[in-house]
Amino acid sequence: MPTDLPIWAAGVCAGLHAAGSRHVVYVPDNPLSHVLRGLREQYADVVTTIATREEEAFGIAAGLYLGGHRPTVMLQSSGLGNSLNALTSLLVPYQIPALIVISMRGDANEWNAAQVPMGRAVAAICDAIEIPHTDPASAGDVAETVALVGRTAFATRRAGACLLPRRLTVPAPAVPRR
């Protein structure tokens, strides 16, 4: 792998591929750009489609699943709000699975106050709409977590989310020690 691809991003690429996903529908996010680069450089069999809005991405993913694919949807946590009607009135009631990879905002290592309220609500929203969610413990744990979440989603026909904490996806300033 190219040395400049962060371990967590290489893990997302490897994990979604291992879960059998060959189509990623996404709304861009700064950290996720590393994943997109990894897919472009190393996974020629994975197609990516950009959507104008997160709920549209989930609609496209639902169509991909109906056609026999195992779709991944990638978004920033701020876009979960935009996704809710698609999730609650299409993917959940029709039991249409998708591997959902969410780049977190608003958690530890955030600088933008406008990102905090939704970031803090993500886990509770997922619980409320019965979408299981898992956080990888470390950058090295991302590949296994994404693969597991995806395999579980497609085997059980329930969308599942992997939440990528910002402390993994964005380099934090070093803390001087003495």
Partner: protein, 198 residues
């Protein structure tokens, strides 16, 4: 020129695309599609307003060798105009979006939509990169447009200006049943419905 009722328009659309998957937007478009004669190849949505064309796009990408038809509504498409930009970018040749434009939110009581006040969905589709677009408001013109959409590669947007008529039937309401039946009918049966080695 005689007015075109939604049910008559839907009958022509169902006949033109017999055997092909049709994704129907929630409410009256789906109700009238069911009323023309239920088929396993119909995916009726019961929610996710605005997403019928997005579902159709995903399906068209997954099944490039099959024509995929979307039966959308004007109010629904207005809720997800970005979908036209994505379709205009991806340009799936096998996608036909038929917009049933009654200029009303028919399912919610008949409130006017922006198309009653000049919004032009064909123009929007064209501006967002979809080249094969047509608006029709008579039965013969609709037949001609559907024939062209079958003959020439898309993506197509066919806007059918219709009159609202009260629907009389509702499609099946079990979402998982709709999904499993549809996936089986279009040749991508869901793994969980198939059984296999222990």
């Amino acid at each position: 020129m005689t007015a075109l009722s939604r049910l008559d328009a839907t009958r022509r659309i169902a006949a033109a695309f017999e055997g092909e998957p049709i994704v129907a937007s929630l409410g009256h478009p789906a109700y009238d599609l069911f009323a023309t004669g239920d088929r396993d190849t119909y995916f009726y949505t019961w929610g996710s307003m605005g997403l019928a064309s997005s579902i159709g796009l995903g399906l068209a990408m997954a099944k490039p060798d099959r024509r995929v038809v979307v039966l959308d509504g004007d109010g629904s498409l207005l809720m997800n105009l970005g979908s036209l930009a994505t379709i205009g970018w991806v340009k799936p040749a096998n996608l036909v979006v038929v917009v049933i434009d009654n200029r009303l939110y028919g399912t919610t009581g008949g409130q006017e939509t922006a198309t009653a006040h000049g919004a032009d969905l064909e123009g929007a589709a064209r501006a967002l990169g979809i080249n094969r677009c047509i608006t029709v408001s008579a039965l013969d013109d609709l037949d001609g447009a559907l024939a062209r959409a079958r003959e020439y590669p898309g993506p197509w947007v066919v806007v059918a200006r219709v009159d609202e008529t009260p629907p009389t039937l509702k499609p099946p309401q079990d979402c998982v049943f709709i999904k499993q039946r549809f996936m089986r009918a279009i040749g991508s049966p869901e793994g969980g419905t198939q059984g296999g080695p222990a």
